[in-house]
C-alpha cells in the first residue's frame, strides 16, 4: 500500500515508530501530487522547499528520540484563506494574488507546534464565497470522483486533496457549509466545530460571526485527532471560548446505544434529490440497527436560515472586504485619476462577480433606511433559530440531516444562477446561524456513483457527542473506504 493513502492516525504512528522517515512520507505525497494534481487542480501554492527543510529538522529531533508532537512529520494542506507567514495567501482572488502575510494564523502555529508540515495551500471560492470553488480567480478544481464535476465549495481544494490522497488532512473554513458541503461532494469527513472552539486569528474574514475553521480528514478518528491539535482558547481572538481542554480521541468509541437521534421532518422536504433521500433514510436505519433511538423533532424556523444567512453574511462581508482598497497591499489598478478612481478601479478589477454581488447586497442591507427591515430583522430571526435548536436538543443528542440536497454538479450548471447555487447550502447554513458543531461524513453514493454526505449536528461545544455518533455510523458502514479512481 502506498504511504499517501494511509490515514492521518496511521501515518503519524508509522513516523513515530520510525517505520518510515518523514522524507519518505513527503516524497510519497509530493509524487502523488505530481501524478494527480494536473487532473484535479486543487493546490494554489506548493511549499516543497519549506516542507523538506522542516522535515529534516523534525527527523533529526526524532532520531535524537525527542518528542516531535502528535502530528510529528505529517503533511497537511491549508485552505488559502488561512494566513501562513512567508507563504502566499491569496483567498483565490486577484485582489490578493501576490499577497504574503507577515504572520501565522493561530491554527498554523498550533499545527506546527504539534509537528505537522504544511505542504501547500488549497484552492477555494474567491474569499470563500461560493459552493463550487468555481469563483476562484486562480483555477478550477475538479471533483476527484468525476473530473467534469465541481468539488463543492468554498473549501473545494481542501476536500479534493484529502479525497485524492494529496494530503493526509487539510484545514478549511466553514461560513455556511464550506467544509461540510465539499466533504459531502468528495466523500471525506468534514468537521465544522462550534463557533468559538477554534481561534479565527489569521483566518481572512468573510463573515466574522459565522466563520469557523475546521478539518478535512479521511476518517472520524482523524478529525478527532486534528481537533485535539487546533482547538482551544486564543488570547488573540476574544470570540474564542475559554474552556477546559478536552481529549476528543476519547469520544472515538463504537457505541451509540441509547443515544437519541433527532429527525427534523418539517425541514427535510421535497426539494431533495431522490438518491440523497434514500441514503438519508438508510442512515436512519443504520443508526436504529446499532441501538440509537430515533426521535422526530421540529425546526420550524430553519427554513428561514438561508434568507437570514444572506443578510448577515453579506453585511459582515461588505465591511470585512472594505480594506482591499489598493492602498497598502493587494491589487492596485494601474491607471487612475484620483483617490476615488483608485478605489473604484482596484476593486472593480480585483474582485470577481460573486464577491461584488455579496458586497453590494451587504452594503444595501446595512444602509440607513434598510437596516431595520433587513439586518436587524435577520438578527431577530437568528435568535429564533438558535432557540429552535435549543429546544430540539432537549429531545435529542444529535440531529441527523443530509449535508446537501444534491450530489456534485457539473461545471457551469449552477454558476449562472446564484439562487440555485445558494440552495445547495440549505442544510448546512442553519448550523452556522446557530453557531453549532456539525460533521459531514460519507453516507453513500448516487446512481452515478457520486458521493452523498450525511450530516450530524450537536449542541454547542458537544463535539465529543458528535464524534462518538459519527464514528459509530462510520464504523458500521463501508462508504468511507471507497476512494475515487484517479
Amino acid at each position: 500500500m502506498d504511504l499517501y493513502s494511509l490515514t492521518l492516525t496511521d501515518i503519524a504512528k508509522k513516523i513515530k515508530d520510525k517505520e518510515v522517515s518523514i522524507k519518505e512520507v513527503l516524497d510519497s505525497v509530493y509524487s502523488r501530487i505530481e501524478e494527480v494534481e494536473p487532473k484535479v487542480d486543487a493546490y494554489i501554492t506548493l511549499t516543497q522547499s519549506q516542507a523538506y527543510e522542516r522535515a529534516e529538522k523534525l527527523q533529526q529531533k526524532l532520531d535524537n528520540n525527542e518528542d516531535i508532537g502528535i502530528l510529528g512529520g505529517v503533511p497537511i494542506a491549508i485552505k488559502d484563506n488561512i494566513c501562513t507567514k512567508g507563504v502566499k495567501t491569496t483567498c483565490a482572488s486577484r485582489m490578493l494574488e501576490n499577497y504574503t502575510p507577515i504572520y501565522d494564523a493561530t491554527v498554523i502555529k498550533k499545527l506546527e507546534d504539534a509537528g505537522a508540515i504544511v505542504i501547500g495551500k488549497t484552492n477555494m471560492d474567491e474569499f470563500a464565497m461560493g459552493s463550487s470553488t468555481e469563483t476562484s480567480y486562480i483555477k478550477k478544481t475538479k471533483n476527484p470522483w468525476d473530473l467534469t464535476r465541481v468539488p463543492g465549495g468554498s473549501s473545494g481544494g481542501s476536500a479534493a486533496v484529502v479525497s485524492s490522497d494529496m494530503a493526509f488532512a487539510a484545514l478549511g473554513s466553514d461560513t455556511g457549509g464550506s467544509i461540510r458541503q465539499p466533504a459531502s461532494y468528495c466523500s471525506v469527513v468534514g468537521l465544522k466545530p462550534t463557533y468559538g472552539l477554534i481561534s479565527r486569528f489569521g483566518l481572512i474574514a468573510f463573515a466574522s460571526s459565522l466563520d469557523q475553521i475546521g478539518p478535512f480528514t479521511k476518517t472520524v478518528e482523524d478529525a478527532a485527532l486534528m481537533l485535539n491539535v487546533i482547538s482551544g482558547h486564543d488570547k488573540m481572538d476574544t470570540t474564542s471560548a475559554n474552556l477546559e481542554k478536552v481529549d476528543y480521541l476519547k469520544a472515538i468509541v463504537n457505541d451509540v446505544k441509547g443515544k437519541v437521534i433527532g429527525i427534523p421532518t418539517d425541514f427535510i422536504t421535497d426539494g431533495i434529490n431522490k438518491d440523497v433521500r434514500e441514503a438519508y433514510d438508510k442512515a436512519i436505519d443504520t443508526l436504529k440497527n446499532v441501538g440509537a433511538k430515533i426521535q422526530e423533532i421540529k425546526l420550524e424556523y430553519a427554513k428561514y436560515s438561508l434568507a437570514t444567512y444572506y443578510i448577515i453574511a453579506t453585511a459582515e462581508a461588505s465591511s470585512n472586504l472594505g480594506r482591499y482598497d489598493g492602498i497598502r497591499y493587494g491589487y492596485r489598478a494601474k491607471d487612475f485619476e484620483d483617490l476615488d478612481d483608485l478605489y473604484y478601479k482596484s476593486r472593480t478589477e480585483g474582485f470577481g462577480a460573486e464577491v461584488k454581488r455579496r458586497i453590494m447586497l451587504g452594503t444595501y442591507v446595512l444602509s440607513s433606511g434598510y437596516y431595520d427591515a433587513y439586518y436587524k430583522r435577520a438578527q431577530q430571526v437568528r435568535t429564533l433559530i438558535i432557540e429552535n435548536f435549543k429546544e430540539a436538543f432537549k429531545l435529542c443528542d444529535s440531529i441527523l440531516i443530509p449535508t446537501a440536497p444534491n450530489t456534485a454538479f457539473k461545471f457551469g450548471e449552477k454558476s449562472e444562477n446564484p439562487l440555485e447555487m445558494y440552495l445547495e447550502d440549505i442544510y448546512t447554513v442553519p448550523v452556522n446561524i446557530a453557531g453549532l458543531p456539525a460533521i459531514s461524513i460519507p453516507g453513500g453514493f448516487d446512481s452515478e456513483n457520486m458521493p452523498i454526505g450525511i450530516q450530524f449536528i450537536a449542541n454547542s461545544f458537544e463535539e465529543e457527542k458528535l464524534l462518538n455518533i459519527a464514528y459509530t455510523f462510520e464504523q458500521n458502514t463501508d462508504y468511507y473506504k471507497n476512494k475515487p479512481n484517479i
Partner: protein, 481 residues
C-alpha cells in the same frame, strides 16, 4: 446680532494616555518615525482580530463618573464604515447605540468679576473608539503619504448637549473638560499635538423661535483660540446669510487658524451613511457594580473640590484658588512649593503673575518649565529671611526661568545678597545726602518726591542690594537731624 440666539454643541475627542493602543500591544507614544509603531492588527492586515485593552474601558468609566454620567452595565462596540487611506480596515471601531457613559453634566464658570456666572452643560454621551492614521501631503512631489502610528490609539468622544450659547461658554466648557481629564490622568490634553480636539456644531435662531436652525459642523479645532475664533466667525456668517434672505446649508466646515476664516468642506445633503453594525469580532462590554464602585472610590480630588479647599485652608481669594486649581499640574506645583516654604499667598502670587506671564510669553506648559516647585519655594524663603529684596528676586526668577538654576546658587554667584548692615547703609546714605544738597533742600521744603530720588540714588549705588526698609529708615533719620 442680539436678535439671534446661538446654539452650540461640542464633540470633543480626547486621546487616552494608555501605554498601548486600543486593540493591540503597540505603543501609543507620540512623535516616532512614521509607521514604526504599528503591527498587523492596527494596520488592518487580513485575518487579524482586535482585542480590547481593558485600560481603555477603565479610563472612559473614570471620565464618565467625573462628569456625572450613568455608566452602562452593558455596552457594545460597532463598526463605522467608510473609505479613507488613513483608515486601513475601512471601518472605525466605535460605539453607536450603546455607549459606555450617558446623561452626565459638568458645571462651567464663564466670564470674570461682575460678569461671572456659572452654568451646567449636559453631557449626552461618552464613548470609546479608535483613532485613524495621518496623511502627510508632500508639497514638492504632490504625493500623499500615510503614517499609521496613530491608528488605533484609543479615544473617548465626549458629546455635549446643545446647551452652549457663546464662544466664551464653549471655551469655558473646553477648559473645564481639559481640567477634569488632566486631574483624572486619562489624557495628557496636549492640544497642539492633537490629543484633545473638538468639533463645533453651531446654529442660530431668532430669539423666541422654538425649533433649532440648520446647523453646521466645524471640525478638528485644537486650541482655545481656534475654538473661540471659529465660533465668532461662524455666528457672524450664519446671521449674515439669514439677514440677506439666504439659507444655512447643513455642511462640514474647516477653520483656518492662521487666516482666521472658516470654509465649507462638504455638504451633508447626501448624508454620510456609515452603515453602523455591531462589531462581530468583539464581545459586549459587561461591567459589574463592584468594578464601577472600585473606580468611583479611586477617583482623585476634582478641581472644584480642590478650589474650595484652597479657599478655606490657605485663605486664598476665589479667583486665585480657581486659577491655581484649573490645571492639575499648576495645583501640584503650588502644593509642592507651599509644602516647603509655607507661604501660600506668596506662592500663589508668584505663580499667577510672574510664572504665568513667562509661560505665556514663551508658549510653554508648566510641565516643561525649568523652574521647579522646590526652587520657587527656596526663592520665597530667601525673601522671607531678608536675604534678598523682592526686586532682586524678580531678576533671579527670570534667570531661574531661563536656566533652571537654584536661586541660592544664583545669589551666591552674583553676590546679590541684600545689604542689611545698618552701618554700611548709613555710610552710603550720608554720602548720597552730601552729594545731593538740592534734593535735601527740596525735601526739607516739603517735596516728598525728593525722598524717592535719594532712595533711588542709594539703590543705584548698591545695585539694588540695599535693604529698602533700612535705607528708608536711615535716610529719614539723617535728613531729619
Amino acid at each position: 446680532m442680539n436678535d439671534y440666539e446661538v446654539i452650540i454643541g461640542l464633540e470633543v475627542h480626547a486621546e487616552l494616555s494608555t501605554n498601548t493602543k486600543i486593540y493591540c500591544n503597540c505603543t501609543t507614544e507620540f512623535g516616532a518615525d512614521p509607521n514604526t509603531h504599528c503591527c498587523p492588527i492596527c494596520t488592518g492586515m487580513p485575518g487579524t482580530l482586535p482585542v480590547l485593552n481593558e485600560k481603555v474601558v477603565e479610563y472612559a468609566v473614570k471620565a464618565g463618573l467625573a462628569m456625572n454620567c450613568e455608566i452602562s452595565r452593558f455596552s457594545k462596540q460597532d463598526r463605522k464604515n467608510y473609505f479613507y487611506p488613513d483608515l486601513p480596515k475601512a471601518y472605525q471601531i466605535s460605539q453607536y447605540d450603546l455607549p459606555l457613559c450617558e446623561h452626565g453634566n459638568i458645571e462651567i464658570t464663564v466670564g470674570k468679576d461682575k460678569e461671572k456666572y456659572k452654568k451646567n452643560i449636559g453631557i449626552t454621551r461618552i464613548h470609546i473608539e479608535e483613532d485613524a492614521g495621518k496623511l502627510i501631503h508632500d508639497a514638492f512631489t504632490g504625493d500623499t503619504l500615510v503614517d499609521l502610528n496613530r491608528c488605533a490609539v484609543p479615544l473617548i468622544e465626549i458629546v455635549s448637549e446643545p446647551d452652549i450659547r457663546s464662544a466664551d461658554e464653549a471655551v469655558a466648557y473646553m477648559q473645564t473638560l481639559k481640567s477634569i481629564l488632566e486631574y483624572l490622568e486619562v489624557c495628557d490634553c496636549k492640544m497642539q499635538e492633537g490629543s484633545l480636539r473638538c468639533d463645533v456644531n453651531l446654529s442660530v435662531r431668532k430669539r423666541g423661535q422654538k425649533e433649532f436652525g440648520t446647523r453646521t459642523e466645524t471640525k478638528n479645532l485644537n486650541s482655545f483660540r481656534a475654538i473661540y475664533n471659529s465660533i465668532e466667525f461662524e455666528i457672524k456668517r450664519q446671521i449674515e446669510v439669514l439677514e440677506n434672505g439666504g439659507k444655512i446649508i447643513q455642511e462640514t466646515r474647516r477653520f483656518d487658524d492662521v487666516k482666521n476664516i472658516g470654509y465649507a468642506m462638504r455638504t451633508k445633503e447626501n448624508a454620510d451613511d456609515y452603515r453602523y453594525f455591531p462589531e462581530p469580532d468583539l464581545a459586549p462590554i459587561v461591567l459589574s457594580e463592584e468594578y464601577i464602585e472600585k473606580i468611583k472610590n479611586a477617583l482623585p480630588e476634582m478641581p472644584h473640590i480642590k478650589k474650595e479647599r484652597y479657599m478655606s485652608k490657605y485663605g486664598l481669594p476665589e479667583y486665585d484658588a480657581e486659577q491655581l486649581t484649573a490645571s492639575k499640574y499648576v495645583a501640584k506645583f503650588f502644593e509642592e512649593a507651599n509644602d516647603i516654604c509655607n507661604n501660600p499667598k506668596a506662592v500663589s502670587n508668584w505663580i499667577m503673575s510672574d510664572l504665568f506671564r513667562l509661560l505665556n510669553e514663551n508658549e510653554i506648559e508648566i510641565t516643561s518649565c525649568k523652574i521647579t516647585s522646590e526652587n520657587l519655594a527656596k526663592l520665597i524663603l530667601l525673601i522671607d529671611k531678608g536675604t534678598i529684596s523682592s526686586k532682586i528676586a524678580k531678576q533671579i526668577f527670570e534667570e531661574m526661568f531661563e536656566n533652571g538654576k537654584n536661586p541660592e546658587d544664583i545669589v551666591k554667584e552674583k553676590g546679590m545678597t541684600q545689604i542689611s548692615d545698618e552701618n554700611a547703609i548709613k555710610e552710603m546714605v550720608e554720602k548720597v545726602v552730601s552729594n545731593n544738597p538740592q534734593s535735601v533742600t527740596d525735601y526739607k521744603a516739603g517735596k516728598d518726591r525728593a525722598l524717592g530720588f535719594l532712595v533711588g540714588q542709594i539703590m543705584k549705588e548698591t545695585k539694588g542690594k540695599a535693604n529698602p526698609q533700612i535705607v528708608n529708615k536711615m535716610l529719614i533719620e539723617i535728613l531729619n537731624k
